[in-house]
């Protein structure tokens, strides 16, 4: 089946994005990326710790198979996000960017005003911008209008594993969006990823649920199946829900 995901000028066969934080080892990350078949991999940028220079994360990623999607995590406002974006580009990450501005650490919820401001600046500067947002349909449209290439609404707070608590708003975003919708954050189990795909999300991003699993590579594979199953269900057309029974066997009189 030819069912490609198109974002900006690129097409992808796989609809599961993988985040690279919290993995127990570089090997475990590499195995998980391979097991997932993921083609879009997020990374972050941090000031180097001069006492501990060993972070070989980049060696786990095969740039011929996977697109690097650096994030601006750690940014608390538009200015900090723009700086991180430019650093990522100079570090050789290319011009794709997950724009992420989280001013408070307790819930790590994204700041909509600073995100829109930064998106405008970064789109003009030639970045392919995929903003991490709360599931706000109006904000999603505003970001589409300023030239973002996808929107990434959250299911629940980052790393919380609570699944899609924002489902009704995500449905509205999907209904109204002309750019891909990638459900990001909070997907704790493969069934959460399936649900996102069943309601018509174009892709999902998963990090914590895979990275902290007992067997990350196997969990990556489980999420990969779930995303494929959910996508197939969506494009096949799900049956309608009814309150009352509708017999699936012929009635007795017939």
């Amino acid at each position: 089946m030819n069912d490609l995901l198109k974002i900006a000028d690129r097409t992808f066969n796989n609809r599961l994005f993988i985040g690279t934080g919290k993995f127990p080892s570089v090997k475990s990350l590499r195995d998980s990326i391979i097991a997932s078949g993921s083609e879009i991999i997020t990374v972050a940028l941090r000031r180097v710790n001069l006492d501990n220079t060993d972070d070989g994360i980049i060696s786990a990623i095969d740039r011929s198979l996977q697109l690097l999607l650096p994030n601006t995590s750690g940014a608390r406002n538009a200015e900090e996000a723009v700086r991180l974006a430019k650093l990522a580009r100079a570090a050789g990450c290319g011009n794709w960017l997950k724009l992420e501005i989280t001013p408070e650490p307790r819930y790590l919820l994204p700041d909509p005003i600073e995100t829109l401001k930064a998106a405008q600046i970064l789109v003009k500067d030639g970045f392919i911008v995929l903003p991490y947002i709360n599931a706000d349909p109006i904000l999603a449209k505003r970001l589409e209008d300023v030239g973002c290439s996808a929107v990434m609404p959250l299911g629940s707070p980052i790393g919380s594993n609570r699944g899609i608590k924002t489902i009704d708003s995500i449905r509205i975003i999907i209904e109204q969006s002309n750019i891909p919708v990638v459900v990001d954050a909070g997907l704790g189990a493969p069934s959460d990823a399936s649900l996102a795909m069943e309601i018509g999300a174009d892709a999902v991003l998963v990090n914590t649920a895979i990275a902290v699993a007992g067997d990350p590579a196997q969990m990556a594979q489980a999420f990969s199946y779930a995303v494929k199953a959910g996508r197939l269900a969506y494009i096949s057309g799900l049956a309608e829900k009814t309150f009352r029974a509708n017999a699936s066997s012929p009635s007795a009189e017939a």
Binding site: T20, R46, L50, I57, P70
Partner: protein, 67 residues
Amino acid sequence: MKIFVNGNEHELEGSSITVEDVIKTVNMPSMGLVAELDGEIISNKDFSKSLIKDNSKLELIRIVGGG
């Protein structure tokens, strides 16, 4: 000369010292690395061309895991 690398003071001998020389001094692999020299972003390919001044502030930033 005296420089600051990620906020830590370093004394360096000689002249015409580049960002690349400093990275070697602090024993840092340059893969996935980017620098900011006195607020200006320096990409990996320009490390060997960028000269450090006395009292320069050099920030070294690396690609790490993240979601």
